[in-house]
Symmetry: C2
Subunit: 186 residues, 2 copies
């Protein structure tokens, strides 16, 4: 009974891998289902057998990172104080961003992805809760600007082609150090 599922799982993964590469190159809007099918080397019908739409594929590509982030949120929320909660979110975001470096290429910035994430209640909850936990209790305008710079700057850096030669461990260490400087009270 295992045999029919294994190839299907593989086929799904090949579609997701091809889509990820194409989204990073052309954005979600610039990628068609035909392009994804061509990259996998199958017909469009075979892709439709696995996914309902291009947006469905984009959401599946994003899902593991959103689920990881939901776990980090649960870990943070188990702590009683705002400051350590915030530290867990910062550290968790950096760890995740480095691990999903290729994904980050289009996760932050592509307006199509932003709209897609906002349209999914479960994804939206995670994005909102990250901002809330980062914010902590009281924050000045300077704190809010620093958080915004941290969120987009750190996520984009992981995906910066100019930093492709920097290994994951070193990037992780440097981003942690930088986030300390960015988020320190002015």
């Amino acid at each position: 009974m295992a045999k029919p599922t294994a190839p299907r799982g593989l086929a799904r993964q090949r579609v997701l891998d091809a889509a990820l590469a194409l989204f990073a190159e052309h954005g979600v809007h610039g990628t068609s289902l035909q392009m994804i099918a061509d990259r996998v080397g199958v017909g469009k019908a075979a892709v439709y057998y696995q996914f309902r739409s291009k947006e469905d594929i984009a959401l599946e590509v994003l899902r593991p990172s959103i689920e990881d982030m939901a776990r980090v949120i649960r870990i943070a929320e188990a702590l009683p104080d705002a400051e350590p909660r915030r530290a867990v979110i910062v550290s968790g975001l950096i760890e995740m961003t480095v691990r999903y470096r290729q994904l980050a290429v289009y996760f932050y910035g592509d307006p199509a992805i932003d709209q897609l994430v906002r349209s999914q209640p479960e994804f939206n909850v995670v994005a909102t809760r990250i901002r809330e936990l980062l914010a902590g209790t009281e924050r000045t305008v300077a704190d809010r600007v620093a958080q915004s710079v941290f969120l987009s700057g750190v996520c984009k850096a992981a995906a910066d082609p100019d930093l492709a030669d920097v290994d994951d461990g070193e990037l992780h260490r440097i981003l942690l150090e930088l986030s300390g400087r960015i988020l320190a009270p002015a």
Copy 2:
């Protein structure tokens, strides 16, 4: 003789304004010439009378900011030492990002815009020269990561809808202070 030019200039500007709003909402790929024409309240032919293509419109929307940046580069290059050159670039980028806040929404991040900018030699020269002047003479991996975080973080923050209530002057001051912290030697 001035009369025929004025309405044409106005019509061009109306197309550019509509395009900018639509690009920010849907990305360049997600915006069609038809959508731009609808927003202006004219037919597609009227838009084609002004511009050859959607990409042509996107480049025209970007042009003033690229020209401003080219001016900042010339000011920086007139200075003899690497450190003050770098300071001029940092300060010039922040000033420009705040002034073009709405533009920054899609200037950084949209893969279609990245490709478009890279495809234009005159724009590409400006982008490369900014990175070179920011880099200065010698730089560690940590310096390179900090520059990447500065470039994407600062530009995105200016466009962050969560910071829409922060006035330009205050945002400028906070971003300058933050950039000092981000770009300080580790």
